[in-house]
């Protein structure tokens, strides 16, 4: 159970190994890694070219929110372990932004919890992206689809 908010990159393989190392009751680990795309919006054909983005966050509240999201996942599913890593600062296309992972005796719980972590993070964790495009900088707008995804998890 851990939350890390950091500027530096992380190593998903090493994190995954740490999850399973020495734990013989874990049946499955589900892991999601989010990456920077090189276009704005949903559609590469219409979206502006993204040369880089900068992620701003609210130090203190961000960690609190991520810890609360993680705790909620562990209340809802029988998990062996959970992990959230989120970067801030300037990132270029192809770079890792976020990792969420959940391990459990059974794959159902691992998948559901992993999905829950990223869905809730996207609507609750105080991060904001500004995209650097040839036309200038633009703050990314929150997506209705993220709100919809998060709603599925309302108690």
């Amino acid at each position: 159970m851990a939350v890390r908010v950091q500027r530096e990159d992380f190593d998903p393989g090493a994190e995954l190994d740490r999850f399973s190392a020495g734990k013989t009751s874990v049946g499955g680990v589900c892991l999601f890694v989010g990456l920077v795309r090189d276009y704005a919006g949903h559609d590469p054909a219409s979206g502006a070219e993204v040369r880089a983005m900068t992620l701003e966050h609210y130090p203190g509240m961000t960690e609190r929110q991520l810890e609360s999201i993680e705790a909620e996942a562990r209340r809802r599913w029988p998990l062996e372990d959970t992990l959230i890593i989120h970067r801030h600062g300037r990132l270029e296309p192809g770079e890792r932004i976020v990792l969420v992972a959940a391990s459990s005796a059974h794959r159902d719980a691992a998948f559901e919890a992993c999905r829950f972590l990223i869905d809730w993070l996207k609507t609750k964790a105080p991060f904001w992206k500004v995209e650097h495009t040839p036309e200038g900088d633009a703050w990314v707008e929150a997506k209705d689809s993220d709100d919809e995804a998060a709603k599925r998890w309302q108690p």
């Binding site: 989010g34 992620l55 701003e56 966050h57 609210y58 203190g60 509240m61 609190r64 989120h86 932004i97 976020v98 990223i118 993070l121 996207k122 609507t123 609750k124 964790a125 105080p126 991060f127 904001w128 992206k129 500004v130 703050w139 990314v140 707008e141 929150a142 997506k143 993220d146």
Partner: protein
């Protein structure tokens, strides 16, 4: 009272963080916003459309009705876009 601004609210106010002493009758987030809008044209512009402004009091999500008091940390920011 510490007030923080993030993302485009920081850009519009031109301020990341300010220590303020609001009027004694500003006892809710809503009343505080009414006061903050008077501080500068940038503040007024930042709070022009409240439907796209989120607020946290002492690092927990809050609403316009949430009480505020001296010593609180109040943060204003747009809907989040991390992940």
């Amino acid at each position: 009272m510490k007030v923080l601004y993030f993302a485009w609210l920081k850009a519009k106010t031109g301020i990341g963080e300010e220590d303020i002493v609001p009027p004694a009758d500003a006892r809710t987030v809503g009343a505080l916003v009414d006061y903050l809008k008077t501080r500068s044209p940038g503040h007024a512009s930042a709070f022009e459309t409240l439907s796209v402004v989120r607020v946290a009091v002492n690092q927990d999500y809050a609403g316009l009705d949430t009480p505020v008091k001296p010593g609180d940390e109040i943060a204003f920011f747009p809907p989040v876009t991390g992940g």
